[in-house]
Symmetry: C2
Subunit: 434 residues, 2 copies
């Protein structure tokens, strides 16, 4: 499928974490962006390698709307869709131990498949073109994403209560074999759920496969205190001491950080993946986003799972990443909108080891969204990036393309499933567990 | 226009601040709800006063989607749309004194008219059926709202820098004459911008017209400290001592409250109108929402103006009213979703003295919205109220009806103006001031 987007505004990303917007076109050949620039400055490269002219199956008149890189949801547990709004407004421990865990224990592989598809539909409505997922049954999760044509990077939720280290290795190899849209990075759930022996096993796998390592890190104050009591070290210092970060990686949440933790993140070029909605709703705290940015630590943004959020909406996360940081610092000038949009696009793509999905540029993968600027929340056009970060929302997403294929357009999905069937499955699954 | 909504889920409001949802129908005759109940339990009242059968101009098949009361934006400065994303990420004082005030000084009455319409369009996309507005040129503001068929309650932004107390009285009388959709409640900008003499003038008008009184109250810590230095009292205690609350009223923001302030709010049945997005973005702080609820103080929710937010989106406000309170208290169980939806509907309507616009019930005004439950963020249907508060958004708003007239439906407006003309006006107005 070759698609030409014409009459567009095109969001171009600069290495200094700023953006500029040009009037122009974006040409997609197969799964690749072959041109992104001004209308009359297109390349002579209008023929493919054989010399024949490219056949444009679709030419989309963007009517002045914005083409930009898809948003990257850099931490989530997609299949938790079944627990959305199931048991909110409870203390964290009651929610997790009495409501969530007992029901997760009843999930089958098939359940996860259907619940993933519900989540993927929501990602598409939010202009999300890839997710960094952690959940049970990674092979099935990968199959669901692949069947939809979606791009998913997974990591392991390994802990003391489930599979063996051998199974983690097996999953790593299996998911990385599914196809080009699917990949797996080493990781585990968190220090507070995983024994030393098991963490050492993960560290060995990271070294064997030269993989980065990701985990829930310093999400709550209690978690950090517990780790200090158990090991005399913060989760960051402990996992570093186990040799987990030789090939990079990062942490999800990263709310309660010590000075040493910041230094370790800098030393190993680790990614801080912030999850502001979940941290609010579960009353975990507000992450030190300004300090991550000031210290040059790469920032990415994720929704966390739909049970603790409850939406899979990167627009709300972007808004909160900026504004929560402002109120944490009590300084309205402490964060710039451009940094946030950079984190949600380039930051996420790089955290997920998807360097070719980070921006709208020749040679990059066509993970692209089209944003409706002709809605009142995007007017006047004083500053389009600020409009996106501070006023944008799902209602502005006209089209979501992953790997050159349009999966969502004007409220309709092209993922091989009917919404009503997916909704029925999701309601049946949770219905079984009431 | 008589409209029958069939095959709907209908959100019914209980006096204990909870909701239940029934399958049924809502019948609107003229601007009034004449029935809201189960399909086969309709009233015999199918004829109007003359005994003739009611002619249903439209019957809308809701396909199982949700009819609920429109959201009330209980504090805003609508026409500030021209400054959306104009000068964000600055310290509050630079933003206000160097960017906002000089440009507001250049606004004409006509500018405000067009900028209001842009804001009203956005309210409609967010399922907002009335706004509590404070801005320059109230008569023109009222005309804009009235021309659109929108419902607006205004208050005065009176302070030391503009009009006289006589003009406030004139505006009060003029706006209350515009028509049934428009009203005016006494008020002034804030203690820190208004001299004692002028505040006393407002207090007299409140008493003369038996009007409630509203103002920006304790938005920032500096404001409260300043008031204590000037008068030895908090803004709440000071305004009470001037006799402003004999007929009720309330405060916008209410972030920095003393124990005495809570007592005064209880004593006079004042409304606390919370503005979480603006308080974050301007780094003002997090309001004590849980305590307002626990002490039985009526809560309402507003967006504040689009320059400090930057969206006019009550979904985001509802989400943050709950989740910010949770992180303020460091207790995920501290707030229930139902309380938030109650504040955004009943709380707002009552703060604005619109007791007939607060719920879906026979005899109430038809300020109604239709919410799409067939989107992935609303599935599964574990708890529809929690889905609305924690996962809902503008993308779920299918239809917004004000006073029995459908002003917004499936992305199209019926307000007498074309979006592109309004966008052009807004861009021209700010373009003139760059």
């Amino acid at each position: 499928m070759n698609t030409k987007f014409i009459n567009a505004k095109v969001l171009k990303t600069s290495d200094d974490h700023t953006f500029n917007i040009i009037d122009g076109e974006v040409w997609v050949k197969g799964n690749e962006i072959i041109f992104a620039g001004e209308k009359d400055k297109g390349p002579s490269k209008t023929a493919d390698e054989s010399g024949d002219p490219i056949v444009w199956e679709r030419t989309i008149d963007c009517e002045g709307n914005l083409i930009m890189p898809g948003l990257k949801d850099a931490h989530t547990h997609t299949a938790m869709t079944f627990l959305r709004s199931f048991a909110d407004d409870l203390p964290l421990s009651d929610w997790l131990y009495k409501q969530v865990f007992p029901r997760e224990g009843q999930l089958t592989e098939d359940d996860v498949y259907w619940l993933d598809i519900l989540g993927i539909m929501e990602y598409l409505t939010s202009g999300i073109t890839s997710n960094f997922d952690m959940y049970f049954f990674p092979q099935k999760n990968g199959k669901a994403s692949n069947d939809c044509g979606f791009r998913t990077v997974q990591t392991s939720g390994f802990n003391d209560f489930g599979s063996s280290i051998e199974e983690v290795e097996e999953r790593y190899l299996a998911v990385n074999e599914i196809g080009p849209l699917q990949s797996f990075i080493m990781g585990f759930h968190a220090e507070y759920t995983t024994s030393m022996e098991r963490m050492e096993g993960i560290a060995k796998l990271c070294q064997k496969y030269k993989s980065p390592c990701f985990l829930h890190n310093s999400e709550t104050e209690a978690e950090v205190k517990g780790c200090l009591e158990r090991y005399g070290k913060t989760p960051t210092a402990l996992t570093e001491s186990l040799g987990m970060y030789e090939y990079g990686g990062g942490g999800y949440h990263c709310v309660w950080f010590s000075d040493e933790d910041f230094e370790i993140f800098k030393k190993h070029n680790l990614f801080a993946v912030t999850n502001p909605c979940s941290n609010l709703k579960l009353a975990s705290g507000i992450a030190p986003v300004k300090r991550f940015i000031d210290e040059g630590i790469s920032l990415a943004i994720g929704t966390d799972g739909p049970a603790s959020n409850n939406a899979l909406d990167m627009w709300r996360e972007m808004y909160l990443t900026s504004t929560l940081s402002k109120v944490r610092e009590m300084d309205a000038a402490s964060i710039k909108a451009d940094e946030i949009l950079y984190a949600a696009t380039v930051g996420g793509a790089h955290a997920m080891n998807l360097p070719d999905c980070d921006r709208i540029e020749e040679g990059k993968k066509a993970d692209i969204i089209l944003i409706d600027l002709q809605q009142p929340n995007m007017q006047p056009e004083n500053n389009i990036v600020k409009n996106l970060v501070y006023a944008g929302g799902k209602q502005n997403v006209l089209l979501t393309m992953v790997d050159g294929k349009i999966l969502y357009e004007n409220g309709k999905y092209d993922i091989g499933f009917e919404p009503k069937d997916i909704y029925k499955k999701a309601n049946e699954i949770i219905g079984r567990m009431r």
